[in-house]
């Protein structure tokens, strides 16, 4: 039951983009087409899952050494190194996956959703997640799934909007933001479910 609630919570109730404003830059920037949106989403799931494991371990080390105040620096370094490592490994062993995710991987270092999930995992938000490595990992992966759902939905809507006539001042980012607002309103309906 804990796992089920965590998954529903991460995907819908606390949706990263639409309810917590994490990862807005790629959400608005890489959502013009559904294929690129899907690529970005998969890359985020991948990195967030791995980053959750490693930052959880690093946090244990930091606490053991009594230097929790270095959390921000340590986490961002771990994530940057991890993204680089994942890129190299994929290039060597899974070239097909690399060519699918390749361009999006470097962008992920500066995606606040990844650092966000790492910090949230060890903070009050996931009390259960802070205790268990498995829960941290699941939280990371399914937060990524929530991100992917949101960016895919937005990309679908934007593809449709390309053929509509939109008032000139609203073209581009403004209409995207208004669309995101309505989507966010829909996701607000999930709040209080858990």
């Amino acid at each position: 039951m804990t796992y089920f609630l965590l998954i529903i919570g991460a995907v819908f109730v606390n949706n990263f983009v639409l309810c917590q404003f994490l990862g807005c830059c790629p959400f608005l920037g890489v959502s013009k087409k559904t294929d690129t949106a899907l690529g970005m989403g998969l890359a985020v799931i991948f990195v967030m899952g791995i980053a959750s494991i490693f930052t959880w371990l690093v946090q244990k080390l930091l606490v053991a050494a009594g230097i929790e105040y270095l959390q921000t620096i340590a986490f961002i370094l771990v994530i940057a190194a991890l993204v680089q490592l994942v890129e190299m490994i994929l290039k060597k062993f899974m070239p097909s996956l690399y060519s699918a995710l390749g361009v999006y991987l470097p962008l992920i270092t500066t995606n606040c959703a990844v650092l966000g999930v790492a910090i949230l995992n060890v903070q009050s938000y996931g009390v259960a997640a802070a205790e268990s490595l498995l829960l941290s990992f699941l939280n990371g992966v399914f937060s990524g799934v929530g991100f992917t759902i949101a960016i895919l939905l937005l990309a679908g809507i934007r593809e449709r909007m390309d053929v509509e006539s939109i008032p000139k001042p609203f073209r581009g980012f403004p209409i995207t933001l208004v669309t995101a607002s309505i989507m966010s309103l829909a996701f607000t309906a999930f709040s209080g479910m858990i």
Binding site: F21, T109, C112, L115, P169, F170, L177
Partner: protein, 267 residues
């Protein structure tokens, strides 16, 4: 000397003003969306976030600019991120000690200044190729532009969503105004994420509209000047063409005479 200084001051002022207006990081460059939307539920939070980001931006721009000839090109991004993370940690510790109320209000978005694209973008695009003084000014301008945008969005969302004006607290000092019985009629949706997206979208559309209008006006005003310039350009082009034609003629004359000479020699 004084004239030179004056000119210099104007150029420096331009760097700062550029960040606030012409290329405002939020409304124009569309950078740093996460903190913009997340902490702009009230003007006070917006001000706090904006100032924290400004301090980090100025410091990181300065250090990146100072080290721009030392940092190898290949590892520059990790180096920038490390510099930024250091300053963010310092700001985090200072806020926690001296303004705990604001530290709590900003929550997770305070450490997330590290991945605020504005700061990395300015380090990469400006500070790593410009002098220290200019970089500091650029950081200041961009930071103030960011703060201005956050406060503008914050004022609107706070007014519509809570019916208050600049409510906040600095330790023991509380300030802000509740506007009559307006809080009873507040539209709570504006404090929710949905309201954040909506407010920013409509503000951006309004700014696009205004700047389009201003551009059209400017175009009209410069039309006559444009005509003068056009005629000047036409004149230059014509002169150039004439010159080239003359040269071509000269070249072909020379060729003809050379051929003629050759033929004569053959005879």
């Amino acid at each position: 000397m004084t004239r030179e200084l004056k000119f210099d001051a104007r150029a420096k002022g331009k760097i700062v003003a550029n960040g606030i207006l012409a290329s405002n990081p939020v409304f124009r460059l569309v950078l740093g969306m996460c903190p913009t939307l997340a902490v702009s539920t009230s003007a006070f939070n917006g001000l706090g976030m904006g100032l924290a980001a400004t301090v980090v931006l100025v410091c990181s721009n300065m250090l990146v600019s100072m080290l721009r000839n030392v940092i190898p090109d290949k590892v520059r991004i990790p180096a920038f991120v490390l510099i930024i993370a250091t300053f963010v940690t310092i700001v985090e510790m200072l806020l926690r000690k001296f303004v705990p109320a604001l530290y709590d209000a900003l929550g997770i978005y305070l450490p997330l200044i590290v991945v605020n694209c504005i700061i990395l973008a300015r380090a990469e695009a400006f500070a790593s190729i410009n002098k220290v003084g200019d970089s500091v000014l650029d950081g200041l301008g961009m930071g103030l532009g960011f703060t201005f945008a956050l406060m503008l969005i914050g004022f609107i969302r706070e007014f519509l969503g809570s019916g208050t004006f600049f409510v906040g607290s600095l330790g023991d000092v509380e300030f802000g105004v509740e506007l009559g019985n307006l809080p009873d009629y507040a539209m709570g949706v504006f404090v929710l994420p949905a309201g954040g997206f909506l407010t920013l979208g409509i503000l951006m559309a309004a700014i696009n509209h205004l700047s389009d209008k201003a551009a059209a006006k400017r175009a009209l005003r410069h039309e006559e000047e444009g005509k003068v310039i056009d005629s000047l350009i036409e004149g230059i082009v014509k002169e150039d063409e004439e010159k080239r034609a003359a040269e071509d003629a000269g070249v072909s004359d020379a060729a003809v005479s050379a051929v003629a000479k050759g033929e004569e020699a053959d005879k």
